[in-house]
Symmetry: C2
Subunit: 348 residues, 2 copies
């Protein structure tokens, strides 16, 4: 090891966390501590609390985002790692309010991966890109020794163009804004879990994996005053809302009655001990918009196949608590918190 | 596994290559067969034979590139995986003739990675970004189970802006063009190999890892008519030249006497059975430029610390063979070919 001028102390308490845990990638508290304490202060231009960065290029504004996909198994009910790697990045661009244009892909293959599997994944990526209207323009392949990877890991980065003047992000939300939830929650996480553990439920539960950029562009093209968008991936609906509340320092008030969970998903969650509020989705998002635009926005959601069950989830209040509160079905009010540990590793 | 409409036959002959081999990531023939047969025909907008894609965004032209880094060991003489992940992507942007602006980073961590190691890698990335004048703007972290990764894999994607009207790439080279080699070759691969195998040579051999964008910008800002740029990473000088020759279908004629290999690197290559022409570099490149600009270009190289030993390596001829030929020190002429297998896995 070469000697370097490393800062003497790691900002994560080493005595408490000498090693990286699975939960550091789980979307909950530990992952946020890595982002807040280790990445954000070090990478001085990191847009840490958003799905991507919004940047100038020439006279244009663009969004730039990246994600690596390590989901297990590679093929699951409703999708596969290739589709996910494209749709996930398309969705992150959409959450910046950008029209997705270009995708890069980098594959880390484990020696011994069946060539047929690679071929299926590559085809799946292309068909997903075609469905989402983006182009896979550049790529890279690395192969690691057998036992040093796990079949296929895929990184995609994406570039989109921003064609409006809005600043979409948690800091743009205002007291009185409406929170719209695009549809039912919990299917992706349960589909992965069932597939991984060989569980079978009364009905087949498929992932909700889908590219939502088209729906988001409908909102923006119609001039809806969109303040914040967030997809409900790792950590689920609860974590997404808590992140927005913390970043904005405003209180979000939501209604449990507006959260739809399919009966079979709810049953599977009960069996597995999961709270659907924390289960990952891959085709669902929340939109926080100016109150005056609620009805027009809901109409646009309802006209789109990926938003036909959208509901008015709640409101942004004027309380500066950075918290999320939820009125339950029986009228009680409780605080919704971020997950401490990890519910389910390698969900995406 | 869900059923899908996969094409019935894989374009790679499964009987011959039922599984992915380490050499499929090695930069030689097998990797090129993946690119040519599997990726390029499937991803319909892939710029397969270039270090990145050149794309319009608004009124601007930009370059977009990605690479994953799986180098072993993580820290080696002259650098580490964090520096490499930044400089490698900066260099790929420079090879497109773009001024590097933004970098994304995605870390795939193995459960159990010492937190101190992650901290060192993150700091190293930031100091490399600062040195290269780029900003790390967005990121992602995944954690995989112990034994399903190897410490840290890093993906970086990069965006740069193109501020000139040149089309830099293999198809732009012309008969008569000059080929300039930016400096001595072979240090990175030998430094990694020595470090990995615990070999020690008479002198310490350090990687040549460095960001070359500044030197490339000097050439472009001075109005040098640059036709093609290529860094000499996986597969080394020989592979880079063969790729350019094949893409352009022109013959490149080079002089062995213009290739500098340090004595200690040459000695190590002899011991290890490597040909320095195929050993990876991380701070060296070739520039193919209009013949009239040779002297001015060489002067600019020689004024820069990363180009002070640059040489005129050879010429593009008017023969349409797609081959590279080399005049040896004793005057013999031979064909330079791509590597068949793999010289050294996980070099980058």
């Amino acid at each position: 090891m070469t000697t370097k001028d490393f800062a003497p102390t790691c900002p994560i308490p080493i005595a408490q966390y000498p090693q990286v845990l699975l939960a550091h990638g789980g979307g909950g508290r530990l992952m946020h501590s890595l982002i807040d304490k280790l990445y954000a202060p070090t990478f001085d231009h990191l847009e840490a609390q958003h799905d991507g960065a919004v940047l100038p290029l020439g006279d244009a504004r663009m969004a730039f985002t990246t994600d690596s996909y390590v989901v297990r198994p590679l093929f699951f009910p409703g999708g596969d790692i290739g589709q996910m790697a494209v749709h996930g990045t398309v969705n992150d661009l959409a959450m910046c309010g950008a029209r997705p244009l270009y995708i890069s892909t980098s594959l880390i293959l484990e020696e011994g991966l069946p060539m047929e599997t690679l071929w299926q994944v590559v085809q799946s990526m292309q068909s997903a890109a075609a469905a989402a209207g983006v182009h896979i323009v550049t790529g890279d392949t690395k192969v690691v020794d057998k036992g040093k990877g796990d079949g296929v890991f895929i990184n995609t980065a994406g570039i989109g163009i921003i064609e409006h003047d809005l600043n979409i992000g948690p800091r743009s939300i205002r007291a009185g804004d409406a929170i719209i939830l695009s549809g039912d929650i919990g299917r992706h996480g349960i589909a992965i879990m069932a597939s991984r553990e060989g569980l079978s439920f009364e009905s087949d539960i498929e992932s909700d994996l889908a590219p939502v950029a088209d729906l988001v562009m409908n909102l923006l093209d119609a001039g809806i005053e969109v303040h914040c968008l967030r997809d409900l991936t790792r950590g689920g609906l609860a974590t997404a809302l808590v992140e927005i509340a913390q970043s904005s320092n405003l209180q979000l008030q939501i209604e449990e009655a507006a959260i739809q969970v399919r009966e079979d998903v709810r049953g599977a969650c009960e069996i597995l001990g999961f709270d659907p509020m924390y289960v990952a989705n891959e085709g669902r998002f929340v939109a926080i918009i100016a109150a005056d635009d609620v009805q027009r926005a809901l109409d646009l959601f309802h006209q789109h196949p990926l938003g036909c069950d959208a509901t008015l989830l709640g409101r942004v209040t004027d309380q500066r608590t950075g918290r999320v509160t939820m009125t339950s079905l029986i009228g009680a009010n409780r605080i919704v918190d971020m997950l401490s540990g990890e519910q389910l590793p390698r969900i995406c």
